[in-house]
Symmetry: C2
Subunit: 367 residues, 2 copies
């Protein structure tokens, strides 16, 4: 599989939903496979909150492959011998696209809290500008899970002629208070960390361990990505035998997991990006710029595949079902297929239970 | 209703499960109604993590009544014209019973992190010592929800002749990793707060606002007490209209709720008590000091009423069901009744949906 990682610079303004303008801006993206002559074999993959453009393949020296490597590759479900797959790092993120720690042109000063609030629509608008520049005006499919699914739904509503089908996993039509509450814990933990310094944290000071508040916040995230069942399977009530049971700071296995992963996370993710992207997730509402959800979904002209996971506690299956039901109500039922995958893995299922849904994606792409 | 709030001092040692000793210690408790002549009309009520001995009635100058005021009182479900109700503040707590901010006798120094880890069994053992002193050797019932339910189950197993019946709400036989994870977020937020100072926080310094980390931690708690449905009912996607939607720190109603309640909470609850009590909850396992759950439950001689709530995500109904099933397995099925209450209020239902379960308690008491 041919993999290319590139950065594209834009000097044209990006008009944001808030009325503010991002100018100039950059987008980092990765492609898998080869674009055919008439540029008709494109699949756009959209990443989630803490994901990046690195969706597949393994970088030299890395142990871990891209976040959907099991799905994307030569002769895999999203077959790179056939399709040209593009994944763009969203604006606001911290992996190469313009975000809160980018510099305000033409100064050397970083945006920090001066960065504008961005929305899912803004992320998608930026990607469309990139595809325009690459001469790509249509896609076979747009696919994404979680916040990636929000982007896919946004593509379907706002660019109804861009892609033939949209495959949305573990996502919603509008973020519900339960999810906003999980994000709230993380956001507060970040903001209240004395090292956060109202966004002016010293990168060097937090370089070694990251911002502690981001680490605490990530723990809240982890809970929402898992489920009571997946935690029982993964950890049970296992207790570290080196710790005495009556040691106040002795740890259960689940606590070690949260420690390890969240302490690592704060080393590679930026706290401001976490604030901006969770804000975009919180305010996501596919009906906001329309009269109603019926109105916004009535714009859709492509096939829609909805894949939810039974134990997903971050974006409940019924939220996805509501999209199907609304499509049926407005007589667009023939465009939509809804699948509820039986998984105990919670929200994480869209990343880790690929054998349980890859056939749904394969069939959708072959349609 | 006659209400009395008292403190009892013990100079006899309290032998803890850990092997350590608490000596001397104090227990603060509240009673409702009047003890009859043969001391046979006692009902013991056990409180949850952040509860206290103040279960009913309203103190002069207070706006809010005790935490189970709707249930306990003259001619209420737990009828104080008939019963003498006692609720004891658990050891480790911060409302008058000996806890981590108590002084180490005979010094003026507070325990802080030198306080021993306590368990649910220890809390119950201390209460039994109090009842002994009061000449109370039997009870009509022991009733509690959440951590109060753990205590009630512990009474049933460890003091099988003390009470005629045990009524356990929204609780478990052993704390599962999902709940330990929610506690973990809170514990880490506390420990990592720079003002925590390894337990030596300056009470005066944090007097005004409380420890910020405790407040963040409480937010994680609140999520686990509610449910996706109760949040939709309570908050929906309501957004504070004074905040611009594109203001990074603009707040949804659910965020305001979490802010308000958790910022208040940290003013009246002690961070060390939070650490010690969540530790007791985390390590609670009704089978720990026995060969198995079958073995521990086989000691029970009283009636057991189990009341779970359909949407409880902190202690799932199936955890309560497992107690019933195990009782049946060991041929104690005739002692146990299991009820799953249909409520959308999540774990909080045991505090706020009293009309939905008071009849179950009434029938159990009348049996």
């Amino acid at each position: 599989m041919k993999i290319e990682t590139k950065v594209e610079k834009f000097t044209t303004p990006l008009y944001l939903e808030s009325g503010r303008i991002l100018e100039p801006y950059e987008l980092k993206y990765e492609t898998y496979g080869e674009l055919n002559e008439d540029k008709s074999n494109v699949i756009v993959v959209c990443h989630a909150l803490t994901g990046s453009h690195h969706a597949a393949g393994t970088y030299e020296g890395d142990r871990k492959a891209g976040w959907w490597d099991d799905l994307i590759g030569d002769h895999k479900t999203i077959d790179t011998t056939k399709y040209f797959v593009i994944c763009v790092n969203v604006i606001g993120s911290c992996f190469g696209s313009t975000g809160p720690t980018s510099k305000i042109y033409p100064t050397e000063k970083e945006y920090r809290l001066k960065f504008p609030v961005i929305t899912i629509s803004d992320m998608v608008r930026a990607q469309i500008a990139l595809f325009d520049r690459l001469g790509i005006h249509r896609a076979e499919a747009v696919i994404g899970g979680s916040m990636g699914g929000m982007q896919a739904l946004c593509y379907a509503i706002e660019y109804p002629r861009f892609a033939k089908r949209h495959i949305i996993l573990a996502s919603t039509y509008a973020t519900q208070p339960w999810t906003i509450a999980f994000n709230k814990v993380a956001r507060e933990a970040i903001i209240r960390d004395p090292h956060f310094q109202n966004g002016e944290y010293d990168k060097e000071k937090i370089a070694e361990k990251g911002l502690s508040g981001l680490s605490v916040g990530r723990m809240s995230g982890h809970i929402s990505y898992l489920s009571p069942d997946s935690m029982i399977t993964k950890f049970g009530r296992d207790y570290d035998p080196r710790d005495g049971l009556y040691d106040l700071f002795g740890k259960f296995q689940v606590e070690k997991y949260l420690d390890y992963n969240s302490n690592n996370f704060s080393k590679w993710f930026d706290p401001l990006s976490y604030l901006y992207i969770t804000k975009a997730i919180n305010i996501f509402d596919a009906s906001r710029n329309y009269d109603s959800l019926e109105d916004s979904l009535s714009r859709i002209k492509s096939k829609i595949t909805l894949i939810s996971f039974k134990s997903d506690l971050l974006f409940l299956p019924r939220e996805m079902k509501h999209i199907e039901e609304t499509m049926k109500k407005i007589k667009k039922g023939e465009l939509v297929s809804y699948f509820e995958v039986d998984s105990d893995y919670g929200h994480d299922a869209f990343l880790v239970e690929i054998p349980k849904f890859e056939k749904i994606i394969m069939r959708a792409l072959e349609e």
